[in-house]
């Protein structure tokens, strides 16, 4: 056998050495990537920037390729209604005097703010929907909501604001707040709700007025809405600030 030709045993040793070096290098890259993806993460805090950018990318894909206001969420017969648990009281811890409540609406651009009462909202066409309310935690409960379409509300009380990029909503005390992209807010199944499961909205479910937006997780279904503001930038969002996806679209 010529000297420059390796024996099969030598050859496989060489290839094995090379293979394990490549695998080791790959493992280092993977470990580095994992570190980068998780750098600066602290439990309970916001997620690291690289993960946030991927969520932003996923939002673009969802809004560009998936979302349509023709896509309606599945509806159920009343017999399927379950018991929606009262899963959070951020922004509604304090008792509310119904007479004190009013809804402040800030239209897009230079429009003047409007102050509304429940009668104004009850005068809008009433819609009823029995949908599967989905919590970001993973559980879901079939729930019936009734109220006015947010699109009708906008057309009536903030005409022109349909063209805004976003709408932000907050409780009267400002302690809970959500941001919504306009297409999701104008979806025909997005309701400003004053009745739930056939009864007037209970305090713990956000009386007198809450949002039912079945194209989003429950975290966006804000209770006891006190302020609505249309705008061009992403409004502050309670759970977005705590690491969750801003879009949170289903």
């Amino acid at each position: 056998m010529p000297n420059n030709k390796l024996t099969p045993e030598q050859e496989i040793s060489r290839r094995t050495r090379r293979g394990f070096m490549a695998l080791g290098a790959g493992a280092l890259v993977a470990a580095g990537g994992w570190e980068w993806l998780n750098s600066g993460y602290a439990r309970g805090g916001d997620i690291p920037a690289p993960l946030r950018s991927v969520l932003g990318f996923n939002e673009k894909v969802a809004r560009g390729a998936l979302f349509s206001d023709q896509h309606l969420v599945k509806t159920y017969p009343a017999s399927a209604i379950g018991k929606l648990k009262d899963n959070g009281d951020f922004g509604i811890e304090d008792d509310l005097d119904p007479d004190d409540w009013s809804l402040q609406v800030m239209p897009r651009g230079i429009g003047l703010p409007v102050s509304l009462h429940m009668d104004d909202i009850r005068k809008l066409p009433r819609y009823e929907e029995t949908i599967d309310f989905k919590c970001v935690e993973g559980w879901s409960v079939v729930t019936q909501f009734a109220g006015a379409r947010f699109s009708d509300f906008t057309a009536k009380f903030a005409p022109g604001s349909e063209k805004a990029g976003y709408v932000g909503m907050a409780t009267p005390d400002g302690k809970y707040y959500v941001g919504l992209d306009m297409p999701s807010a104008l979806h025909p199944q997005t309701l400003l709700t004053y009745q739930m499961n056939g009864e007037d909205l209970a305090d713990e479910h956000g009386a007198p007025l809450r949002l039912a937006i079945p194209v989003k997780y429950g975290i966006k279904n804000i209770k006891r809405i006190g302020k609505i503001a249309y705008g061009e930038t992403e409004p502050p969002d309670y759970w977005r600030e705590r690491g969750y996806d801003f879009y949170a679209g289903l």
Partner: protein, 229 residues
Amino acid sequence: MKTLEEKHRFATRWFHWVNFPILSAMIFSGMLIYWAYDPYRIGLGSVTLFHFFPDWFYNFTGINSQLARGMALHFALAWIFALNGVAYVMYTVVSGEWRELLPEPKSFREAFQVALHDMGFKIPMPPQGRYNAAQRISYSAIVVMGGLSLTTGLAIYKPAQLHWLTAAVGGYEWARFEHFWLTMGYVAFFVVHIAQVIRAGWPNFRSMVSGYDLAEAPAETKEEPAHAE
């Protein structure tokens, strides 16, 4: 006299070794998500044999209270998992390697013999190509499971926009149930796979890294192609 024999092409090794850490990270982030609502168990009625997962498990692994991070990781790495998986399937189709991978009608009978043989019974190993009958079944099944994980995952991720997909896998709650048990399937596969790799020994493991193994040189007579095309 031994010769060098190519066992696994570079593409196969690439897909395999990319999938391993990605799938592990998908399982890890999936558990961060599952923790927030963990209803599944082995049991019947009021009798629970095992709850997924007991508190000691959450405490031991520290996977509790990280839902937001879990979702972000899961929806980021899912891209790599999906692209790597789709590329792998396309590769097996284009390269023709699917012929060595898909179970044949005889595989199901033979796989039983392989299992008995592997468990130590004195049953001869049926003749085999690159993969034996049990490998054909399990390696094909794991690819199908990957596709189902992707499908059920999308059904949970976008149940409104992809309502037809969610309906196709039995609805939102079933999708989550299926997604969970597929994951348990990967864990079971992993345990058996590792045991088999250890059993098969160093040359087999080496071939999955280097691509090559040593084989006895073929006899002087000219060999016929193994498969007629």
